[in-house]
Symmetry: C2
Subunit: 490 residues, 2 copies
């Protein structure tokens, strides 16, 4: 424990700064000691709640989001912790630190510094509960993978392929062996925070699942008071990490909580998160009402085995929020249909979502002799979709437009999507269809460069010359092809 805290410090914008204070250890400090700090920056102030980290150690964790000087002062019911002050100098962010992700242009995301953020997520629900060896293998895999968002749970998971005990538990046990829900386990959170930082340092957003139904320990069946205390502690500890997103549930509709419960929990986070991280709630069978104002974006699990990301444009219109299809099913070969689509089908779903202006997420569920399935435990990737997802990400990131919206197609059958921005950039995707040509009727006078993209073979063939008005592009008569038109000179 640090005995002599500095009264001034320097930290870069959107970093997490820890103001560590020493305070009382007697009784139950988690429950009994209040601690908050007000940070003032010019005409703005930010109220940040602190938390007890055990062993007399109190922390106020701050993400300064404006450069310049912040003046902090604490308030506490403990005299030791009350009226402490801090001068914090916030410098410009270092390269690669763009701040937290925000909703942008209705259906998209950007980092707080304005850089577009296009989510290419994956799911390893409890990779953070598997022990250091496997967790570090997961991180090495992520170093090579195309993913910039990780869907993961705070709590451990009990389910098929998930029978192991976690390394850490979120609560301290009472003497009778039951959980003392009034005493969070600091070691649990320090480990979780380490993994969140590991993701952050790799440019990966942590789409943190706060509640889920797959439980044998009792964490899915806490009382409302216990839920509130847990969630309050989570927000105090984790809100200062710029890469945190709040996913209220994986499959809220498989839990026993009521809509009133979810709304109360949402309001708790809305009220107490000083940085207003992204918030979503993920379904199993039925969507939550994504029109609720506290929901920043749709986090969708497919409710139809056949059509999935083909609904993205409808959902965009219905909700007028970003549409993230976090679970379109997973590449793999397990018995369950949510976990046995081919790599081709996974990639197809990514493209179908992308050209409708949405964002599809990855997961992988190949049978494994030690039950190490990427979708839950991480480890290594075995499938063929990640390379193709990287290819799609490259195409989207290299586009001359920041975001793909479903554009009115220049021509083509009524049932085919086209992404882009009218007059500048079009990305047509033909999915499982295998045309030998496609005819386009574009605005006369605008000249386009055209490329034929094989989304499976990962090749881009730029056609010579330019095209305008009415023209036909030959295609190889096989599935998974795309055509890209880019305004010449752009």
């Amino acid at each position: 424990m640090e005995k002599n805290m500095p009264t001034s410090a320097t930290v870069e914008r959107w970093a997490d700064y820890e103001w560590v204070l020493e305070g009382p250890q007697d009784g139950n400090p988690f429950r009994d000691v209040t601690l908050a700090a007000r940070f003032t920056h010019l005409s703005r102030s930010l109220d940040v709640a602190g938390f007890y980290d055990g062993d007399g150690r109190y922390i106020v964790r701050l993400m300064p989001d404006m450069t310049g000087t912040w003046q902090g002062v604490t308030a506490s019911n403990s005299p030791e912790l009350d009226n402490r002050t801090l001068t914090l100098t916030c410098t410009t962010a270092s390269p690669g630190n763009h701040g937290p992700v925000r909703v942008s242009n209705t259906w998209h995301f950007s980092y707080e510094d304005g850089t577009p953020y296009l989510p290419f997520g994956t799911t390893c629900y409890v990779w953070n509960h598997q022990g250091d060896a496997l967790e570090e293998q997961t991180l090495r895999t992520l170093d090579e993978a195309p993913f910039n968002k990780m869907r993961m749970c705070v709590f451990p998971k009990h389910y098929t392929f998930n029978s192991n005990e976690p390394e850490y538990y979120p609560f301290v046990r009472s003497q009778d062996g039951s959980w003392d829900f009034t005493r969070p386990e600091p070691a649990f959170y320090r480990h979780l925070e380490r993994r969140i930082r590991d993701l952050r340092d790799r440019g990966i957003e942590a789409d943190l699942i706060l509640f889920h139904p797959y439980d044998r320990w009792g964490f899915a069946a806490m009382t409302p008071e216990q839920d509130d205390a847990y969630l309050d502690y989570v927000v105090r500890r984790l809100a200062a990490y710029r890469n945190v997103w709040w996913s209220f549930a994986n499959e809220y509709d498989l839990m026993t909580k009521t809509t009133a419960d979810w709304e109360r929990l949402a309001q708790l986070v809305v009220t107490r998160d000083p940085w207003q991280h992204l918030r979503s709630i993920h379904n199993c069978r039925h969507f939550y009402d994504h029109t609720r104002p506290w929901i920043t974006h749709c986090s969708i699990q497919r409710t139809d085995n056949y059509r999935t990301s083909e609904y993205v444009n409808e959902w965009r219109q219905r909700y007028r929020k970003p549409v993230v299809v976090d679970e379109c099913a997973y590449e793999g070969n397990i018995s369950n249909n949510w976990g046995n689509i081919t790599a081709e089908e996974m990639v197809r779903r990514f493209w179908e979502g992308a050209v409708r202006g949405g964002y599809v997420g990855h997961g992988e569920t190949y049978m494994h002799p030690q039950d190490i399935l990427w979708w839950s435990k991480g480890g290594t990737l075995h499938g063929q979709s990640p390379a193709r997802i990287a290819f799609l990400r490259r195409i989207q990131e290299e586009a001359p437009v920041a975001y793909l919206d479903d554009a009115p197609a220049g021509s083509g059958p009524r049932d085919l999507p086209c992404a882009g921005q009218p007059g500048r950039y079009y990305l047509y995707y033909y999915g499982f269809n295998q045309p030998t040509s496609k005819t386009f009727t574009m605005q006369e006078g605008v000249r386009y460069r055209a490329s034929v993209i094989d989304t499976w073979a990962m090749t881009i063939r730029e056609l010579p010359g330019t095209y305008t008005g009415h023209f036909t592009i030959d295609l190889p008569g096989k599935p998974y092809m795309a055509v890209r038109l880019e305004k010449a000179g752009d």
Copy 2:
């Protein structure tokens, strides 16, 4: 022309018998001469309208549908044709002649003799307008193909890949070159009838399209009176062929007729067809109201590029009629999305429909140097789906149950169909999913033989022993697999 008509004849049940009479040639006999015959069989009588076939030749075409003696007597406004009599002896049908197809068990079909009829249709819209060489090639192809229904038009077709003139026209031209819609061309109909008989002799139902929008001759733009006269003549000539179905339109919603027009045309056929052949009406963008009483079964074109035959069980419940997905898209590689799905996807759509208790139709649209695409002109088949459709047909026809209904699955994910009859026969299909196993929870005490079917490789692997209660079947972890459970001893 036969001068001396027999006054008695013998014909087998459900054959077409032609009672040929000589009559007046002056004026316009098509319009001016009435002719009908009443056929009496025990306590039953059947009123059959005759038709003028040109050159003073009048025909009453009869399909006797009960064995025994039929007594016929004509009525006409021409004394030559009036009050003529005929004794017709109807013998039992020869093997392979099962009579016309009827709706059976709400969602299915059987021939009139009770033999189940499972439609495995194909489409060659105007194969009958291509001249004898190509038409006979089409018939040779059909000899080897698995299809027992042909979707085909009365009128010729004008469309992409269809620029040739037909061999025959349905009307005689006036001296000014325009059509005389009051004078059907007998040669046109004799040719059509020959092709209908060619299909009949191969066990193929002629799903005859009465109107369609793809026209450059004016046949899609006749007046209501012209439509009625045309349709009346068609019914008089063709209703005695047991393998005729009336498909009122291909893509009724692309024509200029109103719902009132369609309803009037339907009532004409309902009133005048003595044998009440099957009746349907096929959509492009929007279904006709398939709840209309005159519609015997749903003839569906997919309205969704992605989900097609996966809707069959919903349509079954909505309409409570047989569901025939006549156009689920075609195997091929043309530009249009309705004509460029892979063979794998075509076969998948057949299976998805079959295991939901429906019937899917085939078509093929591979680019051809002479524009001979099977879907419209016939010729030869180039694709890989027909062999797999034959395999599915064999499986369905060999099943110990007459029809596949969507059965409550013994177990399995909520979003997977299963066909069969509870307790006797189950056919599970896994489509594009690639499970390495599936677990079943069946009724204890009923023992099943199990087979693993590769619907693409066309293999059936019968597993040793029998299964009951809760069990798991290993699968190869690739797409397009099915599992069949048959009650042991059946």
